[in-house]
């Protein structure tokens, strides 16, 4: 196993045994395990015995061609789509078969791929809805302010109907919404979809901050190179089966995967050493979990 992935987790997250080095699997227990999951819509199976795990405090990225079943995996984890066989274990507890609400209560937040705002509600309402499970109004307000600060559009268009926003703006509000909770695991299905380069950068930076703050992240991206570079772990999904798992870098540098799913040659991807990425993370103000300390997952 390559060491890069570990370094990140080891350094940033105080709770995990620090020291940098060592294999991923030893240091980080699995927060989520998807075990032999079979699931589908109506007709046939889309996931055909999918198995992979998401180590605690990792950024795990799923890549794969269109229609591989990436979004389907997300949907099964969040409980929106019932599974047929297999099981999903989160933090030692089987969560498959639970209602979406119960899954959410255990600390799994999902930003789905297709646009999922409340189109007739205002941006503010939408964002506040992210904290639907939090009953303390004060906390909600605090978090809202934090989010609004991070994403100016939320404040600027607070009273606009979400459905009237541009595609990218909507995507951003969705992302903002997921930050209203303080999840243990965030599933982000193409967070950068439709975002302009600057905003996309902000989003990736935010993801990294969330990660630094201790949130485990399961990322699905077609913008795969960027995503994998950010990730500690990668999973390649193909026709509902896991083709390959490894560290983000391993996947990134895998010649065949690169050709098939990452858009050709791998040489360019290699020019930014992961260490540099990490280095920048250090520079960026590591936000403490100020407003996020409230634990409201029941």
């Amino acid at each position: 196993m390559a060491a890069e992935g570990v370094a990140l987790g080891g350094r940033v997250v105080p709770t995990a045994g620090s020291g940098g080095g060592g294999a991923t699997d030893r240091d980080l227990g699995d927060l989520l395990r998807v075990e032999e999951v079979v699931a589908g819509y109506g007709g046939g199976d889309v996931l055909k015995g999918t198995t992979f795990s998401v180590p605690e405090h990792s950024i795990t990225c799923i890549v794969g061609p269109n229609g591989a079943g990436k979004s389907t995996v997300s949907a099964t984890i969040s409980g929106v789509l019932p599974i047929r066989l297999g099981r999903i274990v989160f933090d030692g507890e089987v969560v498959s078969g639970r209602k979406p609400r119960e899954v959410l209560q255990r600390g799994i937040v999902q930003v789905p791929q297709n646009h999922s705002l409340f189109r007739k509600m205002t941006v503010r309402e939408n964002v506040e809805f992210g904290a639907f499970l939090v009953r303390d109004r004060r906390v909600v307000r605090q978090r809202y302010e934090r989010v609004a600060e991070l994403f100016p559009i939320v404040a600027e268009r607070a009273d606009a109907k979400a459905g009237s926003l541009s595609g990218g703006q909507q995507r951003l509000v969705e992302f903002a919404r997921c930050m209203m909770l303080d999840p243990r695991l965030a599933i982000l299905d193409e967070p950068s979809l439709g975002l302009d380069p600057q905003v996309a950068r902000t989003v990736f930076r935010t993801i990294r901050r969330m990660h630094e703050a201790g949130v485990t992240i399961l990322l699905v991206e077609q913008n795969a190179r960027a995503a994998l570079r950010l990730s500690t772990h990668g999973v390649v999904l193909e026709s509902g089966r896991v083709r390959l798992t490894g560290s983000g870098r391993e996947i990134l540098e895998h010649p065949e995967i690169g050709r098939l799913y990452l858009g050709g040659g791998t040489e360019e991807g290699a020019d930014v050493p992961a260490g540099e990425v990490d280095g920048k993370v250090e520079e960026g103000e590591v936000r403490a979990r100020t407003a996020t300390t409230e634990e409201d997952h029941g």
Binding site: R101, L104, F118, R119, K120, F129, G130, G163, S166, R177
Partner: protein, 294 residues
């Protein structure tokens, strides 16, 4: 035609409109949240009338007091119907399917009522049913005034529930985007059940007033449903205030036309007004439009 008559027609229209709004309030809620057409609303109104009737006749419980029993009772019935049938409607052909399911529910309830009560007219009696307030030279029937007050009360309550409570928030979320609501922790199925149940529960109050202002049989629902549907569409699907406005507009238009011109053509004019309004505002008076194309 004296000015007094016209004035009276308008007053009548507003008061009666309140009664219709009370009957339509549940419909608009169900319409808006569950995205379905509930043909059974008419029979639910009639069922509410019968419930009040039975309480009054057999237990001597007054009409308004009886609501404390009939409203929760109908609430439970609504919850059952949603759980048993509505929940099963898919997204495909939802309009047609909801019409058919609720039509089936209608004929079952109608059949049961016929078996129990036969097809003779019943009416609710209470001292205030034939009394009136004398205000500024006009007699205002007490029951209509109470009905109007009850309607406004119920609608305000519904509004508060929808916009000031957690339940209401989740209802609106579920109405807007099911998937998103699920993902932020709304139990969408439960919300649907509760909404339908509330809609039916409120109808118990509508049924009581309906039964008090006119006699009813198990068949009475049919004349009602088309009116209620038009009210709800005119006001805007899912808009509680719209139901009141729609009802008042409808009844005032009809009443005024039938007084100044002819009762025969009053409904025609009303339906024409409806068509016209919808042409200009397809989403109804208070309805919201799909926001934009992207």
């Amino acid at each position: 035609m004296s000015a007094g008559t016209l004035e009276m027609a308008v007053i009548d229209g507003i008061l009666t409109g309140g009664v219709y709004a009370l009957m339509a309030a549940g419909l608009t809620l169900i319409f808006g949240v569950l995205d379905m057409i509930n043909i059974a609303q008419g029979i639910f109104v009639v069922l509410g009338s019968y419930a009040s009737y039975v309480l009054e006749r057999d237990a001597g419980i007054g009409l308004f007091l009886g609501l404390l029993i009939t409203v929760p009772g109908m609430f439970l019935l609504g919850a059952f119907v949603e759980w048993a049938f509505i929940r099963r409607l898919g997204q495909h052909n939802r309009v047609t399917m909801s019409i058919l399911v609720t039509y089936a529910v209608t004929i079952v309830i109608e059949g049961l009522l016929l078996l129990k009560f036969g097809s003779n007219y019943q009416s609710l009696s209470a001292s205030y049913v034939t009394q009136s307030f004398h205000v500024l030279g006009h007699y205002l029937p007490e029951i209509y005034v109470y009905g109007f007050a009850l309607a406004v009360g119920c609608l305000v309550l519904l509004y508060l529930v929808l916009f000031r409570t957690r339940l209401g928030t989740s209802v609106r979320a579920a109405m807007d985007n099911r998937l998103a609501a699920q993902l932020v922790g709304v139990d969408v199925k439960r919300v649907a059940t509760i909404t339908f149940a509330i809609g039916v529960g409120v109808t118990a109050a509508g049924g009581m007033v309906f039964g008090a202002v006119q006699p009813f049989t198990p068949n009475s629902g049919y004349d009602l449903i088309s009116r209620l549907l038009t009210i709800v569409v005119l006001g805007g699907l899912g808009s509680v205030g719209g139901a009141l406005l729609g009802a008042v507009v409808m009844v005032v238009v009809e009443d005024v036309i039938s007084v100044v011109w002819s009762p025969t053509w009053a409904p025609v004019i009303y339906f024409a007004v409806l068509a016209l309004v919808l042409l200009l505002r397809p989403q109804g008076i208070f309805g919201q439009r799909e926001v934009r194309a992207q």
